[in-house]
Amino acid sequence: MRYIGLLLLVISSLVNAAALPKNLKWESNNSAPLWASPAAEKGGTFTDFILSFPPTLRVVGPDSNSSFRGFINANQLSLTSFHPNTLEILPELATEWAYGKDNKTVYYHLDKNARWSDGVPVTADDYLFTMTFMRSKFINAPWYNNYYTEQIVNVTKYDDYTISVTGAVARPKEELHYYYGLQPTPKHFHTLDDNWVKNYNWKIEPNTGPYQITDVKNGKEIIFERKENWWAKDNRYFKNRFNVDRVVIKVIRDMNIAYKYFEKGEIDTFNMLQPDLWHDKAKGRLYDSGYIEKFVFYNDAPRSSSGFFLNMNDPTLADQNVRSALAYALNFDKVTQTVLRNDYERLEQFHSGYGEYSNPDIKPKPFDLNLANQLLDTAGWTTRNGEGIREKNGKPLTLTITYGNKEHTDRLVVLRQDARKAGIDIELQLLDPSAQYKTIMQKQHQIAMLGWSTGFRPDYWQHFHSANAHKPQTNNVTNTDDKEMDKMISDYDTETSREKRIALAHQLEQKIMVMGAFIPSWKTTYTRGAHWRWIHLPDVPGTKTGDSLYSVFGDGLLWIDKKDKIDTMAARKNQGSKNPVTKVFEQYKVK
């Protein structure tokens, strides 16, 4: 048995000893602008919270998709990363990279200093193992199984520190890094067998990033500690980042209670996108005397595609006039100015904030009752019943909005009142989020209120291609089925020239707008929060694409002034002498 294993090893090493193509143009990037502050000091304990204890420490497999996964993933480096402000490609675990002629393959020279947290060197075999691991049926993760088979098709080892990664379709250079980027998986740590899911539930996987979990207090908290001799601590782009020594992630099961912890100084920072937190709760003595400081930071990142998705399989909504009329009858601005306290802005299009890929000429349909009424008259909904609702063949114009977040009820009841003026009766159907998801995936909704998470580039195929229409479990929730659209989408997906792709994206956005099955709702253009004054941030406290000012792992820009913390904690009961601090940063505000 052992001999067979040895034989296989010899054969595989022969196969793997492929030759590196000649004439590769190796690139690196050691001169990009830095974004961390040289004033940062090391040390201190940072406390944050999550709303529920993670069901597992695995990052793949059943129950692994909890909010805690973000903390673990942030400490697993990739081959390359993107500059958070300029979006240049930066070295991470790879020092150099080169592109293949096929526009599908990237070659990498790996950093020879890279070490797992247990001291084992990171080599090409760990990347090969990622493929074995992600394709394995033992991890019980069909999405990953599929992605690492259909999208990332091959990883080749040339020597211990040289590999290439090949994807399924040709893409522009930066997208190769985004879609076919790879993280190593510690080969020496995993034993793949039937019990993998169970055995690795609470094992702490070796990682490559700045922090590692050192203690897990079941149901209460998880503690990370900074690695004393982290292999990358002197790398150009990691200097002055990841400053805090210990990070405690507490489990606090209620947002209001968590906020009380923050006011007591037991949590250092608090994100405050929610209007009521920012305007009503975050005020008083602690703020007036400058113990807690408030920051608003405008960012420039892809915005979630949020709004109303009209199911065109529904006979009423199959009529484009009705869809457009509905868009004109919804008074988004009124909601913004009242319930949302002017904190949100109207989303312009399906893919907003994707830089050049977004179409600058598209504006959403404004609130215009006259136009809505005209369109409905044209569509044949001419008579009004006793309640003022339009009718056609004796059937009232009643549309049901399915939504899954009770915080949205306030917005919807305002929209509903004005839509009645156009003779449209809107029924609100609040479902449990998972029930809502199920209903929408079964395409049983009439109108769905939801937001899709963002990607690196606009992605039309999953949402608007007819291949995904009229069948359950796909993301084409509007059931868009249009020949012309299909053609444009496949052109967009196969195009490798940046300019042509951008032009196609603009045309597609235009077409989505005309079709009217998606009615954009709102976006936020900033991140905001409050922190105790012992937390320090660089002069520019965030990054262009950052979605939180207070990420200790991802950006890792903040640091703690330990003396200030002791002083503040002693003085916080008294009236402070300082003034309230609310800082607004508009460097990356999109005009």
Binding site: D276, H279, V339, L369, T409, V413, R420, E427, L430
Partner: protein
């Protein structure tokens, strides 16, 4: 109508219990007022005289703005119309209800964010909720829905409980034994949780929610009904009715039921309270009637989420406590009035 002397005696007794009696009067007045809420809390005018024509918009079809010379064909904004008439003084007349808002409309104040504090000037006497709707209007319309809901729920669960309980007591034997076991099993299902699970998958309506709740609340009554019937069925008058050839149905409905009803009536007020509480708690948790139905539970939930706007919590809690206290006073008095012992001796 002939009133049974026993019943008359009980009524006299009930009337003499002042606390319960006045609670009943007050509660009756509240229900009556809420049934005609459209006349005093509404955004439609009570009376409009426009160019010599008289309009009564309260009940009936909507009147488009064009009726009164406005340039829109959706429902007239009567508050704006009232303002206009006041300024123009052209012989038109408009009479608005006491509280000129309906429970669905959002009334926003320029430059301020909802919820707005109580203000007599804006005629929001209890303030507004987080989307600018009048709290008093939502309380009154919410009360109407809750009380009707509770009565409807009661009608179903009492019908089911009484008939099944009576059948069990009347027939006894195997039927009784098997039904008892079935009821025991059903009683062990946590009804509220089941309803919450169902409500998170399909949005319930007024009727479906009442039916669902009734399905889990009819069992309690069967036990009382069963024992009462057991006792009555062995009395001579039942045997007499039997020998005269009366059918089972006739014996149960005409002979046994009138003699057992007393005990059931004492439960009645408490069941009303239970119905209101059940609907309110479901609404509070977000599994009740769909938005934007006016509801006390929803107001309570808004209030607890935003404790800094005390008027929301205060209104909802006061209203709920008031109704529950009244119902309990009534229930207490009914129980005492129906108690066969006028005096109780403690030894």
């Amino acid at each position: 109508m002939i009133i049974n002397p026993e019943t008359r005696k009980r009524w006299q007794r009930f009337k003499s219990l002042r606390r319960g009696y006045f609670s009943l009067l007050l509660m009756g007045a509240m229900i009556f007022a809420s049934l005609f809420a459209e006349l005093w809390i509404n955004n439609r005018a009570l009376l409009v005289v426009h160019q010599g024509h008289i309009y009564l918009p309260t009940y009936g079809d909507f009147l488009p703005g064009t009726t009164f010379g406005e340039n829109y064909d959706w429902e007239t904004n009567y508050r704006a119309l009232a303002e206009k008439i006041k300024i123009e003084k052209n012989g038109d007349f408009i009479l608005m209800p006491l509280i000129p808002y309906n429970p669905f409309e959002n009334d926003f104040i320029e430059g301020e964010y909802p919820p707005y504090a109580p203000s007599a000037h804006n005629k929001h006497y209890l303030g507004t909720d987080t989307s600018g709707r009048d709290i008093l209007a939502r309380l009154v319309y919410g009360f109407r829905i809750a009380i009707l809901f509770s009565l409807f729920l009661l009608a179903i669960s009492y019908t089911a409980g009484i008939s099944i309980g009576a059948l069990m007591g009347y027939f006894g034997g195997k039927f009784d034994l098997i039904t008892q076991r079935i009821i025991e099993i059903l009683s062990n299902i946590p009804g509220l949780y089941v309803i919450m699970i169902i409500a998170s998958i399909v949005t319930p309506s007024f009727w479906s929610l009442a039916l669902l709740l009734a399905a889990f609340s009819w069992m309690g009554l069967t036990w009382y009904m069963r024992t009462e019937t057991y006792r009555e069925v062995n009395r001579e008058y039942v045997t007499a009715a039997h020998s005269l050839g009366a059918s089972h149905l006739r014996i149960i409905t005409h002979h046994i039921l009138p003699n057992t009803i007393a005990i059931l009536i004492t439960f009645f007020p408490f069941s009303v309270a239970a119905g209101i509480t059940a609907l309110t708690s479901l609404d509070y948790l977000g599994f009740g009637l769909p938005a934007p139905t006016p509801s006390w539970g929803e107001l309570l939930q808004q209030g607890t989420d935003n404790l800094e706007y005390q008027w929301i919590t205060a209104s909802a809690v006061t209203a709920l406590s008031l109704v529950l206290i009244l119902v309990n006073f009534i229930g207490e008095a009914v129980r005492e009035a129906f108690d066969p012992k006028t005096h109780t001796f403690y030894e």
